[in-house]
Structures are given as structure tokens and as C-alpha cells.
């Protein structure tokens, strides 16, 4: 079976290309601003194009059926679909051509929706011209497409869950119940996360810890879950199915025999504020964060303990401990193991209200945050459920809530934190439940009670007498008796108010956890403008990330309530389950190949490979280790002898695209090289958000900006392109460790070369665009169009002459070396 396939593939390379072009209207999404019929007609005139047609929805069943029919009828061997982004429908069309008997790598997509119709909504003529160019470039590339064989790699049936909040707990339990081994990593001494701190949950008013504690305990005793608290992720490498994870277990100084009897704590002389109670209660240097903590085990805070630097000064806890669990010799340990899938649930921190000075937080003692309120009203909290004001420990008669502190503001965070409105309503009802006479005022901009049962709770709070005042206070002023004056403007009546209350609760927003930055770096996840992790597709892949085998759950993906976090965690667990259940994943066939006859064994490729996937063997030839190669293409771009072919992104394919691009008026256009993961996705994002920019730009996709060889850029200039833009992930965010630094090097080399030879080096540009920075892409393109206007025909002519000369020299040199060998 395999033999015949190989034979087929060999045949496909040699036979004359017979290309079918299908232009999609996508309803009015493309058809509204691009003349699809004209695009199809122009495509039909291109060489090797056997058939070119336009359809209303190519991705629909009849659309795909049509492609399959044409392949059979006209003997097509390459398909070009001009439609949406390949990041969207490439898998759909790949399986379509595969059904019709073609190799799935014989498909090429021209992105005329995200990169054309959606960003040039009001310029049909320019949009149509651009689409024609994009299709011509796609056809040019399609001519050189080659069939590829994908390999299956085994998946390790073990999952890593990062973060032990409610989302992490749920994901770990779901996976463990399905029979997989799970490692749950938590950086704090106990799992539980934010939910453990909260008193009641909305809208059902369930006791938060009462419903969470059983789940926490289950995690602790589940045979399939290895719980690692006080542990941080220090490194993650590898790829889907075979991630290698390194963790650092911080020293706890107390071993697992601890029965949490609290004798040691009573003996300890050192005090500090308890983080779990947000500083409202004290803890000792040896402590357990809260009563229900899992693992139920004390830890020692070495920053506070008297026994520093290995000098054992105080042994009161050791003397008090009956079971002899305390060991001051304990030290940090590192551990490395392999997992198949990773679920990231790194959670959130709360906004620091002191950033808004007019609210007097940290200055006036009776201004507290909503998280502090949760601890105050909690029966397990520092006041045993008494809502007292910190200044005089008296139960307040009037309380004000201030909404949107650190949310929905240009000065702090622009996004809505999603949970604060309902949390305030719940808090107000809790106060009313315990002290019905308390006067409660809620200062708000909008109340967002959008979920199931939320509106009922909102109406109930109104019925209970909670007053809602529209208009946030401009300032809070503390009076001598500790009361607070709320001064602001009523939004509807345009009247000023000046209301005195005894206590103020700031409803603080959520922001991504600081610790998540390490995880982001090693898993190359993208962030949205708010700093939350980005999913692969906001609607259809809401828990997947752009990195295969990595899933998101809980608030690290965006602010959400407990129910949503749990839902998402179960979804993430189910997605991870799919991969591990199959036991095999198919790895894309985009890896490097070395042509030994051309290789001189110079070793440059081995030096630049971010994965050390290339080695020089005894015969002085480069060898690629397929399983380690991730397909960035940096080696191919660096090779001076054309000995390395980057499969599916070959030199010939990319040069053909450049040639097709430069066929008509190249001096009036911008050529952009975008990496698949960040900047191409960023350009897609600009399209999805309908950010309009100038239509002169044409994008060529590569897997990494490191794939863009200097001779591609030189070739483009030799063919008379006006401006070339090189674009990739931000430094440090590269999907291929650090391959984009090579793009930067080449960019600088290119700029220097142009300057030294009297050319305008501003025609070569570089921009780092992340998947969320559509706006940055838009601004860059618009600024480049301004640049394009200043490029004179004289300048173009000079650069064409200079770079053609260089190309010719390079070719001669290459032939000489080859002849010499």
C-alpha cells in the first residue's frame, strides 16, 4: 500500500500541473467587495489552470463536491481555493482533496477574505485587483507544490494541568476519571485558588468552600492525580504528545506525615499577615493557608522564619511536633518528566485599587476591596463572619459599593471584568441577610446581569432595598470619624451628589496572574490586549491554543465566573482526552530535507537550528532529525548552497510567488512576509475586526520569519518591488524558540547593504506583530503606503540594477563551486 502511494507521489511531481481555481464569494463577505467572477476569469487565463470557477460558498457540501468532481473529470492535480484564511479552512479543503485522491499538500489557499475583502470594504476595484494578484501568486506556488507524507508520533498518555484553581481542579478530575495520569501543579501551598477565598457564589448563594472542598479533597486522594503544591514550572519543551516539563518544587520544610494538628503553629513566635485573608488576619512562619487546604500540610515561610541561611536558631516548632515532620534540611528540588497534553489554568489576580488614588484605597482604612469583603463576611475569615469596618471594628450602618474599579476605563483596564456586577449584587444581599437595616448604595456605570438567574438576583436585591446610583464617584473623601464622603455626578440627571457612608467596598476587576508569564513564554501562547491568553478561534475552538496539545481553561483565558470556568475546564479536558485517547498524532510534514550532493558540510545550518535538529555526520554532510525538526525553515534560509529544502515552503515555491507578484506594477506595491503564528494571524485579526488599510500590500505566508532568506528579499527588489515588509512574532515570543532573531539579523544586514550602496534602506522594513495586534499591522501598512509614495522611479531602477547584478554574481559563484566539486 505504502509503496504504491510513494509511486503515485513520484508521478505527481513529474507530471504537468493541472490546476483548478475556486473563488469563493463567502456570501457577501468576499462577494460584497470583490468581483469574484472577474477574479475567476483572470485566473482562467493563467498557465496550467484547467478550470477556474466562482462559488457562493466553496466550503459548503456542494462546493466541496464540485471540487471533487472536477478533480475526477478534468484530472486536476493541484487545487487553489481563493477564500478565507488558511488558518480557518485549510483543514476542510485538505480533507476534501484527499477524499478525491490527491495528496493533501496539493492544496493552496489564497486569502482574499481576511487579507482583502474585509480590509478593503469600500474599494471594490482595488480589492478585485488585489484578489487577482493573490490568486496569481497562489497559482504560481501551486505549480511547484509537492505531495508530502505525514508521520504519526505516539502520544504520552499523561497530562499536565498548570494551576490548581477551580478550573484546574475540574480539568484534572475529568482527565483522571477518564483513566489518564494527571500532574496538577500549583504555585501556592494549597489548591483552591480564588474560589476558596470567596464566601458565597452567585446566583444560587451556595457556600463557596462547601462546594469546592469536596472536589479539592478528591484531587488529594485520587489515585491518578499527582498533586504538586508550592511548585512552579521552570521549563517546557517538546511538541504535542511529547512535551518535556521541568518543575521546581520549593522546599516546604514539613514532610507528608504532617497531620495539621497546629501544635507547631502555636509554638512559632513569628507573625505575618495571611495572604489567604488578604492581610486581614495573621499567620505564623509555619502555617497552613486555610483550614480546608489540600494538601493538608503545614509549610514554613523561610522569609519569615528565624532560621535563615542554614543557621538553626529557633527549634520551637521542631520541639512541638509530635510526629517529627519538620526538617530544616529540606531544599528546592527540580524534576523533569514527559507529558502528552497540557492544560493551562493560571487564573487571575485582582486589580490593585491603589492605582486609582481618588478612591483612597490604602489611605482610608474603611475603604476595602471586594476580595477583602469576601474574607470579612466569611464565617471562616478573620472576623468569623462579622462585617466590621477596620478603623473602629464596628458594624457599619451604611455601605457603598463602587463598581468598575480597574475595569472599563482607558486609564486602567479597558475590558469588562465580567463578574464584579453580580458579585456586588450578591454581596449586597449577603449584608441585607445578616443586617437588614444596613443602608446599601451601589455606584455603577451599567449593571450587567446577563447570565441564567442573574436578573432575578438583581431584581431581588432591588426589592430588598439596595439603592443603585448611576454615576461613579469622582472622589472619595475621608472624614475625621472614619466615614467617607462620596462625591460625584448622577449620569442621568447631571446633578452632583455628596453622600456620606460608613464603609466603601471597591468592586475590583480581574487581571491575568503574574506567574502566567513564564508559562506563556515556554508554550509560546499569544495574549490579547488585556493580557489574557488567546484561543485558536474565539467561536469554534474556544479552549484550544495555537500551540497544538495545549488547552486553556478558567480566568487565564478571560475573566469569567465559576460556572463558566468549570464548563471550560471540562471542555479542555475533553479536548485533551481526544488526543490522548487516539494515542497517535499526525505531525505536519513541514520539515527540512538535505540534498547531500549540494551540501558542503559547512555546518551553518546546524548552528542556526533552534532545536539542534541538524547534525553534521562523519561524511561531512548535514542530517536532519525528523522528530526534532519543527519546521521553521531557518536552516534553509541560511544555507548558501541551496542544499536544504524546507518542505511545503521551498525556495522555488516562494520565488514563484514573488515572480507572480511582480508581474504587474511591482513598484506600486508592498510585499509582506508574515510568519504563520503571529503576524499572519495578526493580519487575519485585522481582517476579522474589519480594520481598513491601504490595498497595496500582498502577503506571503511562511511558517516563521526565520524562513525568509535574504535572497528572497533581494529577488523582490531585483524585480522592482517598492517596499518589502518582514514581519514576525515579537522577540521572545517566537514559535520556534528564537528563529525570529535570524530574521532580525538578515533585516539589519539588508538595511546596511542598501545604505552602503546608496539605496533608500527605508524600503526594507521590519515589524513584530502578535496575533492580537491587528491594529499595529494596520498602522504599519498605512505608514508604509506613505513611504511607498516617496519612492522614485529612479530609485527603483537603481535597486533593480544593483540587485540583479548581485543575483547574477551569486548564481555564477554557485555554479563555480558546484563545478569545482
Amino acid at each position: 500500500m505504502k509503496k504504491t502511494e510513494e509511486n503515485d507521489n513520484a508521478a505527481a511531481v513529474n507530471e504537468e500541473p493541472r490546476i483548478g481555481v475556486y473563488v469563493c464569494h463567502c456570501g457577501l463577505n468576499i462577494g460584497g467587495s470583490v468581483d469574484c467572477e472577474a477574479v475567476a476569469l483572470s485566473a482562467a487565463k493563467l498557465d496550467n489552470v484547467v478550470i477556474a470557477d466562482h462559488q457562493l460558498y466553496t466550503c459548503s457540501e456542494p462546493g466541496q463536491e464540485r471540487i471533487k468532481q472536477d478533480i475526477a473529470e478534468h484530472g486536476l492535480n493541484r487545487i487553489v481555493v481563493a477564500a478565507c484564511s488558511p488558518r480557518m479552512h485549510e483543514p476542510t479543503f485538505r480533507s476534501c482533496v484527499q477524499d478525491a485522491g490527491l495528496n493533501k499538500y496539493m492544496l493552496e489557499m489564497a486569502n482574499i477574505r481576511e487579507h482583502c475583502s474585509w480590509v478593503h470594504l469600500h474599494d471594490k476595484a482595488a480589492g478585485t485587483e488585489k484578489s487577482k494578484d493573490l490568486v496569481r501568486m497562489a497559482v504560481a506556488r501551486a505549480r511547484y507544490l509537492e505531495p508530502q507524507e505525514e508521520i504519526d508520533v505516539p502520544v504520552i498518555k499523561k497530562a499536565l494541568v498548570i494551576g490548581g484553581g477551580v478550573a484546574g481542579i475540574q480539568a484534572a478530575l475529568d482527565l483522571a476519571d477518564s483513566g489518564y495520569e494527571v500532574v496538577l501543579v500549583e504555585k501556592e501551598p494549597s489548591i483552591g485558588g480564588r474560589m476558596a477565598q470567596i464566601d458565597k457564589t452567585f446566583p444560587t448563594m451556595d457556600c463557596s468552600i462547601c462546594i469546592l472542598a469536596p472536589k479539592m479533597a478528591e484531587v488529594g486522594r485520587h489515585p491518578n492525580i499527582t498533586l504538586m503544591s508550592l511548585t512552579e514550572v521552570t521549563n517546557i519543551g517538546g511538541y504535542i504528545g511529547n512535551f518535556s516539563v521541568t518543575l521546581r518544587h520549593k522546599a516546604k520544610y514539613v514532610n507528608e506525615d504532617c497531620s495539621a494538628c497546629s501544635d507547631c503553629m502555636k509554638a512559632c513566635p513569628q507573625h505575618a499577615p495571611n495572604e489567604f485573608d488578604v492581610g486581614l488576619a495573621t499567620r505564623k512562619a509555619i502555617y497552613i493557608p486555610f483550614a480546608q487546604a489540600v494538601p493538608s500540610q503545614y509549610v514554613i515561610d523561610m522569609d519569615l522564619c528565624l532560621n535563615k541561611n542554614g543557621v538553626r536558631v529557633c527549634e520551637k516548632c521542631v520541639e512541638a511536633c509530635e510526629r517529627k515532620c519538620i526538617n530544616f534540611e529540606d531544599h528546592d528540588r527540580e524534576e523533569t518528566f514527559d507529558v502528552g497534553t497540557i492544560i493551562v489554568c493560571t487564573g487571575v489576580d485582582v486589580f490593585d485599587a491603589a492605582q486609582i488614588p481618588q478612591y483612597q484605597y490604602k489611605k482610608a482604612p474603611n475603604v476595602i476591596t471586594s476580595l477583602e469583603f469576601e474574607r470579612l463576611i466569611n464565617a471562616g475569615g478573620p472576623t468569623h463572619g462579622q462585617l466590621i469596618r477596620p478603623s473602629d471594628h464596628r458594624i457599619p450602618k451604611s455601605v457603598a459599593f463602587v463598581q468598575c474599579v480597574g475595569s472599563r476605563s482607558r486609564k486602567t483596564n479597558p475590558y469588562c471584568s465580567n463578574v464584579c456586577c453580580m458579585n456586588t449584587i450578591k454581596d449586597a444581599l449577603l449584608i441585607k441577610e445578616h443586617w437588614p437595616e444596613t443602608e446599601i448604595k451601589v455606584f455603577y456605570i451599567d449593571i450587567r446581569a446577563f447570565g441564567k438567574g442573574f436578573e432575578d438576583l438583581f431584581q431581588r436585591s432591588k426589592m430588598e432595598g439596595v439603592q443603585f446610583i448611576q454615576g461613579l464617584p469622582g472622589e472619595i473623601v475621608q472624614r475625621k470619624n472614619g466615614n467617607l464622603r462620596m462625591i460625584g455626578e448622577l449620569m442621568m440627571l447631571h446633578e452632583l451628589y455628596d453622600i456620606e457612608v460608613e464603609m466603601v467596598i471597591l468592586s475590583v476587576g480581574l487581571k491575568p496572574s503574574i506567574g502566567s508569564d513564564v508559562v506563556r513564554k515556554y508554550l509560546t501562547l499569544s495574549r490579547t490586549s488585556g493580557g489574557f491568553f488567546m484561543v485558536a478561534h474565539p467561536k469554534l475552538r474556544p479552549v484550544d491554543t495555537a500551540t497544538r496539545g495545549v488547552f486553556l481553561a478558567g480566568c487565564s483565558e478571560g475573566p469569567k465566573d465559576i460556572k463558566e470556568a468549570v464548563t471550560q475546564a471540562s471542555a479542555a479536558a475533553a479536548r485533551a482526552n481526544i488526543i490522548m485517547h487516539r494515542g497517535m498524532v499526525t505531525v505536519e510534514a513541514i520539515t527540512a530535507r538535505v540534498d547531500e550532493s549540494m551540501c558542503t558540510g559547512c555546518g551553518l545550518c546546524a548552528k542556526v537550528c533552534p532545536y539542534q535538529a541538524i547534525q553534521i555526520n562523519d561524511r561531512k554532510k548535514a542530517v536532519v532529525i525528523d522528530a526534532a525538526c519543527s519546521g521553521c525553515g531557518t536552516c534553509s534560509a541560511e544555507c548558501k548552497f541551496d542544499a536544504i529544502t524546507m518542505r511545503h515552503f521551498t525556495d522555488r515555491q516562494i520565488l514563484a510567488q514573488i515572480d507572480a507578484f511582480t508581474e504587474f506594477e511591482p513598484e506600486k506595491k508592498i510585499l509582506a512576509f508574515c510568519c504563520n503564528w503571529c503576524s499572519y494571524a495578526g493580519a487575519d485579526f485585522a481582517g476579522i475586526s474589519r480594520m481598513q488599510y491601504a490595498p497595496q500590500v500582498r502577503i506571503i505566508r511562511t511558517m516563521c520569519s526565520g524562513r525568509v532568506a535574504q535572497n528572497f528579499i533581494e529577488h523582490a527588489f531585483a524585480r522592482g518591488v517598492g517596499v518589502v515588509l518582514l514581519s514576525g512574532c515579537h522577540i521572545g515570543d517566537c514559535h520556534y524558540i528564537d528563529a525570529n532573531t535570524f530574521a532580525e539579523k538578515r533585516y539589519k544586514r539588508m538595511r546596511r547593504l542598501m545604505k552602503q550602496n546608496g539605496l533608500d534602506n527605508n524600503r526594507m522594513q521590519l515589524v513584530w506583530v502578535s496575533a492580537a495586534e491587528g491594529q499595529k499591522f494596520q498602522e504599519k501598512i498605512n505608514s508604509l503606503v506613505e513611504k511607498l509614495k516617496t519612492v522614485t522611479p529612479e530609485e527603483i531602477k537603481n535597486s533593480m540594477r544593483f540587485f540583479s547584478e548581485r543575483e547574477k554574481q551569486r548564481k555564477e559563484k554557485k555554479q563555480k563551486t558546484r563545478a569545482g566539486k
Binding site: P269, Q270, H271, A272, P273, N274, E275, D277, V278, G279, L280, A281, T282, L306, N307, K308, V311, V313, C314, K316, K362, P365, P382, T383, I388, P390, H393
Partner: protein, 112 residues
């Protein structure tokens, strides 16, 4: 994590306070107790003892937590600690980055 407010249960927290007793004539001025005191309670006094050394004294009285390390480490058995009356938690015990108010800052800067 840094905190700015005294914990609400601060008054309920009995803090162990040790009373430092120094047998001045035994001291040979090795300074071990001063160097190793985890809370930096001790300091060298200006006075001389019979042997001509400067014995230590409890510079930060009330900060001693009765860990007894000075007692253990003293080669001359010249220092010992007894448990005193439990004290209360002071702001400086728990708050490590309290910023003084504006008025106090001004006072410190210009020395009103």
C-alpha cells in the same frame, strides 16, 4: 505580597517576648550573640566589664522572641533569656513597607 493594614486579629495575637539577662562579668566580648541574634536585638554596649570587654545589651528590648539561641551559643554562659509577659503585635512586626503619611514625610524631610 505586601500589606498595608494591621490584621484585624492583631490584638488577639499574643507575641512571645523574651527578657534578656546578661551576666556582664562573664562576657569576653566574642560578639557571637550579637551576630547570630535572628531579630538583631543585641548590640555592644559602651561600658566595660571587669575583664575589660564590652558586654552586649538588649538594644531592641521587646523584640526578643525567646528563641534562646544566644544562650546556646554563648561560650561563657554569660547570657540567658526568660519568657516575659506576652506582648501585642506591633505594626513594624507585620508591615514591611508602610509608607508614612504626607504630613509625617514632610516633618521628616524638613524637621519641623
Amino acid at each position: 505580597m505586601s500589606f498595608w493594614r494591621m490584621p484585624l486579629d492583631a490584638e488577639e495575637q499574643g507575641v512571645t517576648v523574651g527578657e534578656v539577662h546578661i551576666i556582664a562579668y562573664r562576657c569576653k566580648g566574642c560578639r557571637y550573640c550579637i551576630e547570630f541574634c535572628p531579630n538583631n536585638v543585641l548590640a555592644e554596649s559602651e561600658e566595660f566589664n571587669e575583664k575589660g570587654y564590652h558586654p552586649p545589651y538588649a538594644a531592641k528590648d521587646g523584640k526578643c522572641v525567646n528563641c534562646n539561641f544566644c544562650e546556646t551559643i554563648c561560650p561563657e554562659f554569660a547570657i540567658f533569656v526568660t519568657e516575659g509577659k506576652p506582648g501585642n503585635l506591633q505594626p513594624a512586626d507585620v508591615l514591611h513597607d508602610v509608607k508614612p503619611g504626607r504630613r509625617l514625610q514632610r516633618k521628616r524631610r524638613y524637621g519641623e
